[in-house]
């Protein structure tokens, strides 16, 4: 939080009013990522897939809310080694699949192609690929829907409502 406050101060003296996207992201700065379970290439692929799953527009998407770092942390701490390994191999396979299907690297694929690739993964008959996709999506959705940005800006999250009305109009 300190960093955000400091950031706010800097920005306001510089004449900015709104924070940049990552300034509103969930407090990833309080969870310092010291180790990663991914290689650089795997991490890059993860970024691309996460961004494709929930892209940024005027409304911030998953990648800009630190989702990749969250997935890294979750897999590393809360999942068995077997699941982690499958996830890592599947990231590499996703890159291979892009090359096979579109004859280019994931990084060079435009949105439509990425969407197509995601659908391919989701409909895959290969259980490894399918499991990977469903875990990727599950964790991305979790990161996104529980981010400070989405909860406060889009879900009207209130920790302490201060009331309970049992029967009100929609």
């Amino acid at each position: 939080m300190k960093r955000r406050t400091a950031l706010k101060n800097v920005l306001s003296t510089a004449g900015f009013i709104t924070l940049p996207a990552w300034g509103n992201s969930w407090n990833s700065e309080t969870f310092i990522q010291t180790t990663s379970i991914f290689t650089q290439n795997q991490a890059k692929t993860l970024d691309i897939l996460v961004d494709a799953l929930i892209p940024s527009s005027e409304i911030i998407g998953a990648k800009d809310l630190g989702t990749s770092a969250f997935i890294d942390k979750m897999l590393g701490d809360c999942y068995e080694k077997k699941v982690q390994e499958n996830f890592k191999i599947s990231l590499e396979n996703a890159e291979k699949l892009a090359k096979e299907t579109f004859s280019k690297s994931l990084a060079d694929c435009e949105k439509l192609l990425l969407n197509e690739l995601l659908f391919k993964l989701s409909a895959s008959v290969d259980t490894q690929q399918k499991d990977f996709f469903s875990l990727l999506k599950q964790l991305t959705v979790l990161a996104y829907t529980t981010s400070e940005y989405v909860m406060t800006k889009h879900y009207n999250y209130v920790m302490a409502p201060g009331h309970y009305y049992g029967c009100v109009n929609v």
């Binding site: 998407g61 979750m74 701490d77 809360c78 409502p161 049992g166 029967c167 929609v170």
Partner: protein
């Protein structure tokens, strides 16, 4: 042995000792200190200060590193499926893996709260009074022994604790669920109101009301004096409430007792046994194992309140062996550890609700609707003894739609739609205490404090099975009558103890030959020892027991202090 010198003995001598700081121990502390007694509170776990020791209470979902999931490395240290509070939000309440192993002769779930405040920080906060239909149960139906008290004995003490704790509820004017001194109740949802109306019209004896609960909905001066404020409907109760919105020892009785200047709290004190003096023919103190140093220390007092939680109170008495009491303190009747019982929570049903689509709820309900016992209320009507109450909850959530990918997925997530209403219910069945359902100490196994391990031998009976069946049948009928669809669920076959309402083993009764405690919660055979937690319960009723522990405790302290002043103790 430094503790043998006179100065040291003096320092370790108090007017009263309370074993345990949970819901009943907190009340012992408050009532004893209010009456000017210098009181030592022994707690086996660590200290938990109100507010400052609730580390997660103000955390937002995104502030949990794993969004609530406990990392594998930590999770694997605990017994899988048997440890409660295995969430990032509440992990600090979970029982440490090596703290207190026990032997399940028959499968038993034992949930413990080993820290100051005990389970009063973690309870479900339902607080229904018992009635004479409960207290007269054993006598009418011929099981256990007759309670030595009736509702009239307890009624003023129910009021006493309700006013202080802050209990919200409606005056419902029901003989099976006496009204109390209530703060305003929470509301029922549209669906609960509909259910109440339909059931009420068809069954004259099945009034659905709002459960009474220990939440301050409209603080009175007495609550402000405790430093408590109104419930904020956060429904994050088991992290500890910084507002003191619900009653716990930590937010209420303990700081109150502390303010008197009479209370000394000693955490990390695992009670080994109660010391009995053969010459004086009474208890003179308590033997404690310091949890950190494993040193054995003795504390002395004129009266001892045993509020260690039902099972631990049993264990402490069993482990208090002397020439006079070879089978456990006060155990002339041989009933210690026997007739141990809990509540039957096995039946659970839920259903879909059609309609009410123009209505929703707003805010959060920390309580639930409640159907008091209707079976065998005035006479025996079924092929099982006693009956069950039913908790009822309903709501309408925002459904997460995570279909699609890309912009479509994003729009789906950002625009959740109100789902349909749903309703659920759970039974709370009275179980009939029987001799074979018992606790005892293991002959050889000990824990790391050198205290014999517990053996649990508690099982469901045919009566419990029949009751679950009846609940499923009756509740399905009521749900169907109300137009609810797809009724599902049934018998969870959960282990005894899963309700966390352990009761008995040190039961109250009129006759010292068949019970441990008299009508003042005083050991028949050692009259300066009082047991006022769940261990004292003669029968189990269908109401949540905590409020009754509080009332019994306040009443017993009042009596004990009067007796002390008359020099009878």
């Amino acid at each position: 042995m430094s503790f043998l010198n006179i100065d040291s003995v003096k320092k370790r001598t108090f007017d009263a000792i309370v074993i345990g700081s949970g819901i009943s121990g907190g009340w012992s502390a408050k009532e004893l200190c209010d009456r000017g007694l210098k009181t030592l509170i022994l707690e086996r776990g660590r200290d938990v200060k109100h507010v400052t020791d609730y580390p997660t209470t103000m955390k937002n979902p995104w502030e949990f590193e794993h969004r609530g999931q406990v990392p594998l490395e930590i999770r694997n240290q605990y017994q899988s499926g048997r440890t409660s509070f295995m969430r990032e939000e509440t992990l600090h309440w979970a029982l440490k893996p090596d703290e207190q192993p026990f032997v399940e002769e028959k499968p038993f779930q034992w949930t413990r709260g080993y820290h100051v405040g005990g389970k009063s920080l973690l309870w479900a906060r339902q607080t229904q009074r018992w009635s004479d239909l409960d207290f007269e149960g054993p006598k009418r139906d011929g099981y256990a022994v007759d309670w030595p008290i009736r509702y009239a004995d307890l009624a003023p003490w129910y009021s006493h604790v309700e006013k202080f704790a802050g209990i919200s509820g409606n005056k419902d004017n029901l003989p099976q669920l006496p009204d109390g001194d209530f703060l305003p109740a929470f509301e029922m949802s549209c669906v609960e109101q509909h259910f109440r109306d339909v059931v009420g019209k068809t069954y004259i004896d099945r009034p659905i009301i709002h459960g009474r609960c220990a939440h301050v909905t409209e603080p009175k001066q007495i609550h402000y004096d405790q430093g408590r404020a109104s419930c904020q409907n956060r429904n994050l109760c088991n992290r500890g409430c910084p507002y003191g919105g619900y009653f716990s020892s930590n937010s209420s009785t303990l700081p109150w007792a502390m303010k008197t200047g009479k209370m000394i709290l000693r955490p990390h004190s695992v009670v080994h046994s109660i010391i009995y003096d053969e010459k004086k023919q009474k208890a003179t103190g308590v033997r404690v194992v310091d949890a950190s140093t494993k040193e054995i220390i003795e504390y002395y007092a004129k009266i001892i309140f045993v509020n260690a939680s039902s099972i631990n109170s049993n264990m402490i008495l069993m482990n208090s062996i002397s020439n006079r009491f070879r089978n456990g303190l006060g155990n002339d009747s041989g009933t210690l550890g026997k007739y141990f019982a809990c509540h039957n929570y096995r039946g659970k049903l839920s259903a879909d609700v059609e309609g009410f689509l123009e209505k929703k709820t707003n805010g959060k309900n920390p309580s639930n609707a409640y159907l008091p016992r209707f079976r065998n209320l005035y006479k025996q009507e079924t092929d099982f003894l006693r009956g069950y109450s039913v908790g009822i909850g309903s709501g309408r959530g925002l459904g997460q739609n995570s279909s699609g990918v890309g912009e479509e997925l994003k729009q789906n997530l950002l625009n959740p739609k109100l789902g349909n209403w749903h309703i659920s219910s759970w039974m709370q069945g009275e179980t009939v205490p029987i001799e074979s359902n018992h606790l005892r100490l293991h002959e050889t196994l000990k824990d790391k404090y050198g205290i014999p391990q517990l053996v649990t031998s508690v099982a469901w009976t045919e009566n419990d099975d029949k009751m679950v069946k009846d609940y499923i049948k009756e509740m399905t009928e009521m749900f169907t009558l109300a137009g609810f669809k797809n009724v599902r669920g049934g018998d969870s076959h959960s282990n005894p103890g899963s309700d966390i309402h352990e009761m008995g083993g040190v039961r109250m009764g009129v006759d010292p030959k068949t019970s441990m405690l008299n009508k003042w919660n005083q050991l028949h055979a050692c009259n300066n020892v009082f047991v006022t937690d769940g261990a004292c319960m003669t029968s189990t009723s269908t109401q949540n027991p905590s409020l009754t522990y509080m009332a019994l405790t306040a009443r017993a302290v009042d009596y004990a202090v009067k007796e002390l002043k008359k020099r009878n103790l």
